[in-house]
């Protein structure tokens, strides 16, 4: 006898993902903590396209005519601004979240490409200082490992108020990543589930921030620029307050920005998309008349040279990348390399109940490819030479894609890309980016041209 056909109708409100969430919550009494960034569908730079040159504009020859990429950050007050060869910087990621080999590989690749890298929650390691020509030193709420000696040997100081993955929330590093070295750097007992503070311990509010920025300037004898990094929420107000407080560079991290570990509810439900945040930040700088003095760095889900080009066209001076850096190093790859030989890592993904392409288990410290781990055994899976070469290749591709698009728009300098070079493919993207919907002259919320 054939089985009777079942009529299966999945609830849209309580689908299998929601059921799994409820049942996990009921079983454990704890919310989910994970790494990386938002996985939900969001408006992105993919919803914009360039109006490259034709009869009304003329392009530059892609393989002959130069297209400048030099980027200077923080020249407003610092005696030694940050002078980069490309407008693509490496975002702050901590030693602790990342292995020492990963930090070293990042520093070497960034230096080879003439760009900056950034410390993270946990302080500066000797490996990354030695490997990095341009090293931005973060001043975070936790102040783990923070000290005036490292401040004085930094090339810029970044006051972190928040980040896109968890604006308003503090960081986390679960016990399995608190190795003896990480514990010593953070002045914490080994193996505890560590909570980073969400507010700075020594100041509150924008007036205090003004004084704090001046303290850091005085301490470093006004040598290096001061950046202020914020998660994208009330962007227009926050950017104005940061500039008024004295920031030389403002970094806005959209909700696609990644993290080593935080609550899933933060990652998916707090902050606004990078695409929406960037025009708000630009408008804030223009309102204050400082768009030519204060540099804007945008981050959160930047993946391709096209993303970089679109960010610059919308008014950013540079971008910062984090998750893409990890992926260039091998994050979510099915293999790792031992003296050039590819070794299958899928059993290690399966042990974490995940698979290559789906892994967000940075918080476990059991990274199958040795990037986000403190395990001496796993860390060896990322050779700094190999990692640096891969990241350098990736940064080169981003830069070539960026200049290719810029030349096709007729620009001899990537910083000449402008909003007029873009149109949007969706009404949402047009409204957020303040560019016309493709095929129209309509920008939602603005009078027709």
């Amino acid at each position: 006898m054939p089985e009777p056909l079942l009529h299966l109708e999945e609830s849209r409100s309580f689908n299998r993902d929601v059921l799994a969430y409820i049942q996990h919550a009921a079983e454990t009494g704890l919310y989910e903590i994970r790494g990386l960034g938002a996985k939900r569908a969001l408006p992105t730079f993919d919803d914009l396209v360039f109006l490259t040159a034709s009869a009304s504009r003329y392009p530059l020859e892609g393989y002959r005519e130069t297209c400048a990429t030099r980027t200077v950050l923080g020249a407003r007050r610092a005696r030694q601004p940050v002078e980069l060869d490309i407008p693509i910087t490496i975002a702050g990621m901590s030693f602790g979240a990342l292995s020492a080999n990963a930090k070293e590989a990042i520093g070497r690749a960034a230096t080879d490409m003439g760009t900056s890298t950034t410390t993270g929650d946990g302080g500066m390691t000797e490996e990354e200082r030695q490997a990095s020509k341009w090293l931005v030193y973060q001043c975070l709420p936790s102040r783990y490992g923070f000290n005036p000696d490292d401040l004085r040997r930094a090339d810029a100081i970044e006051i972190v108020i928040g980040q896109g993955a968890k604006p308003g929330g503090g960081g986390m590093l679960l016990g399995q990543k608190i190795s003896p070295r990480v514990a010593a750097m953070r002045t914490l007992p080994e193996g505890i589930d560590q909570r980073s503070a969400c507010r700075h311990p020594d100041w509150t509010g924008p007036d205090d921030l003004t004084i704090k920025i001046n303290e850091l300037r005085e301490l470093t004898d006004w040598r290096v620029p001061i950046y202020v990094k914020m998660g994208a929420t009330r962007v227009r107000d926050d950017v104005k307050l940061a500039v008024k407080a004295g920031a030389d560079v403002v970094i806005i991290d959209g909700m696609q920005g990644g993290t080593a570990a935080t609550q899933q509810v933060f990652i998916e439900h707090a902050g606004i998309p990078t695409l929406a945040a960037l025009p708000l930040a630009v408008e804030a700088l223009e309102d204050m008349g400082v768009a030519d003095e204060v540099q804007l760095v945008i981050s959160g889900g930047i993946r391709t040279g096209a993303d970089v080009a679109k960010a610059l066209a919308l008014g950013a001076d540079a971008v910062a990348i984090g998750q893409a850096v990890l992926m260039a190093l091998g994050c979510n790859s099915p293999t790792w390399f031992d003296h050039g030989a590819a070794i299958d890592a899928t059993p290690d993904y399966h042990a974490l109940q995940t698979a290559p392409g789906y892994c967000h288990h940075c918080h476990t410290g059991r990274c199958p490819v040795g990037v986000t781990t403190q395990s001496p055994e796993l860390e060896l899976r990322l050779d700094p030479d190999h990692g640096a070469r891969r990241l350098r290749n990736y940064l080169q591709v981003l830069t070539m894609e960026l200049t290719t698009l810029a030349r096709a728009c007729g620009k001899s300098n990537v910083h000449h890309l402008e909003r007029e070079d873009l149109v949007a493919l969706t009404i949402e993207a047009a409204a957020m980016a303040r560019v016309p919907l493709a095929g129209t002259n309509w920008i939602p919320g603005k009078p027709s041209l």
Partner: protein, 239 residues
């Protein structure tokens, strides 16, 4: 105290900019007196100015003659700084070593995130004194406000007067001693018995601060360590 041969240098914030004063302390002073006896430095007319004597990295004695603002002697290394007046927020924040002494009272977040050295406040300290402490010793001759030693990781806070509500909330391995009344303990903080090492530590710190109290007059507060690991049954304590 002046030694007969010790040179005295006076810097006047009514005559010189803050930048000039801090630049002298950072650059000229260690360079000009390298290998010899350091002079004593007096800073006149602070008049509530912020960021005075931040980032010192020299074993010099500095007296700030008057009331001063935020971040006084921030991130101090090696220097011995005395403020002859009151201070604003975050005096000696992130102090690494040396001594900072406030003859008056301190506003919020005194000694925040300090990693070493000694901070003495001869008056009272406001809220969040010793927040995020990472190894410094702080002695307050008077009382402290609410949330003192919040998330303090290592080091010692000695309070000779009373402590406000939420004392030692989310403590890690820092140890607190209170001689007066405790208005309330924060999450995961608990009263613990005084041991012989506590007596020795208190005796040393009270002597360094120049205070006459006996160790047995104090209560010890430490971490119950119940929040060191995430656990469903402690959900309420996580807030």
């Amino acid at each position: 105290m002046d030694r007969p041969s010790q040179r005295l240098i006076r810097l006047d914030l009514e005559q010189q900019t803050l930048r000039e004063v801090n630049d002298f302390l950072h650059q000229r002073l260690p360079h000009e007196f390298a290998g010899g006896e350091m002079p004593r430095v007096e800073i006149l007319n602070p008049n509530g100015r912020h960021n005075v004597a931040v980032g010192l990295d020299t074993p010099v004695e500095v007296d700030i003659l008057g009331h001063a603002g935020y971040f006084i002697a921030g991130m101090n290394k090696a220097a011995r700084v005395t403020v002859h007046g009151n201070v604003g927020w975050s005096v000696a924040e992130n102090i690494m070593s040396g001594t900072v002494r406030v003859k008056g009272c301190a506003s919020e977040c005194a000694g925040a995130s300090g990693r070493g050295g000694l901070l003495v406040i001869e008056g009272d300290a406001s809220s969040r004194c010793g927040i995020s402490l990472k190894g410094s010793d702080i002695v307050v001759a008077g009382s402290v406000g609410h949330m003192a030693a919040f998330m303090a990781q290592a080091g010692t806070l000695v309070v000779c007067g009373d402590a406000g509500a939420g004392l030692g909330d989310s403590l890690y391995e820092a140890v607190l001693y209170v001689r007066g009344q405790i208005a309330g303990l924060g999450a995961d903080a608990r009263i613990e018995p005084l041991s012989a090492p506590d007596h020795q530590r208190l005796t040393r710190l009270l002597a360094a601060a120049g205070l006459p109290h006996a160790p047995q007059e104090f209560q010890r507060v430490g971490s119950a360590r119940n929040l060191y690991h995430w656990h469903a049954d402690r959900g309420g304590a996580y807030g």
